[in-house]
Symmetry: C2
Subunit: 148 residues, 2 copies
DNA sequence: TATAATTAAGTTGTGCACAATATAATTGTT
DNA sequence: AACAATTATATTGTGCACAACTTAATTATA
């Protein structure tokens, strides 16, 4: 295993910069939708499953309430999202889309195609890369569960 | 190319969560060194090349002065780093290590081994993953340069 | 050689990301 | 039923990350 303390040889550094630079690529694409990258991720979840619990959104994105609460507040201010208390459990908050938020989906449909085009990546490579990233996450999860 | 607006099928999302979760793994490892993850990256650069320009640190980590200025200020407060104006060009700032910062390297030597152990990843897989990430960055860079 | 353009670093403001804590609702236990 | 433990959300504080702007030093050019 690479144990030399060189920046470029550390997988964490490559992951960190790759993520940052890919997010940078998204910024001008998402700007017309009036969304930041994190807000876009929340909208993706809601377009997939409207009426989902705030808690469950946080689980899918690995975000806690300290991040999500103010983020959702901003999505409400923009007018894409609404919060409703669940009747059966007053602690839970259910997120729904406004008409405006639902309409935004059509505009967003084109985002993945734009990004793929910019990356000039073929389907097979794309899938292989996805699998690698999912594997890294699985290893992290395995360690986390082993530890507790 | 995957054009469905599903969270899990977007490479950006996998990269984003993988990076976040790997950083989370580092947190308890770096805590005894009194470093955040970003501070650790700056220290890695300095251990590799002491006396480097602040500007060049920013280029290697893809960080601008808005991020680096306060971060380096914190490293100075901890007592790991010192700032010196370059004599030949008074605009430039040269970063040097204190004895304490230099001594910390020995403790940090063990970090990559600890991380690899936690991920339970063999050398070949590790190298393949590194190459994938470097390739993603190359594609991003190629697009960025094509655009300007 | 004035002065315009560029460069390096710093500052301000916004929005994550997360730890720690607080509050209120629900569930479990005696 | 009373009360302890748990759960969902919100708030506070710290530290990134970056855009936009400011300041000071250097370089280019008229």
């Amino acid at each position: 295993m690479k144990s030399s303390l060189t920046l470029e040889h550390q997988i964490c550094f490559q992951l960190y910069t790759a993520s940052k630079e890919l997010t940078r690529l998204y910024r001008p694409i998402l700007a017309p939708l009036n969304l930041t990258y994190s807000q876009y991720l929340v909208m993706l979840v809601l377009w997939e499953e409207e009426g989902i619990d705030l808690k469950q959104v946080g689980e899918r994105l690995t975000l806690d309430s300290g991040t999500l609460s103010p983020l959702v507040k901003r999505l409400m201010q923009i007018g894409y999202v609404e919060k409703v208390r669940a009747q059966d459990d007053e602690r839970r908050i259910v997120l729904t889309l406004t008409d405006s938020g639902r309409a935004l989906r059509e505009q967003a449909e084109d985002v993945p195609r734009q990004v793929s085009g910019m990356l000039k990546i073929d389907e097979a490579t794309y899938v292989a890369y996805m699998e690698m990233l999912i594997d890294i996450k699985a290893r992290l999860k395995a360690f986390g569960e082993q530890q507790g």
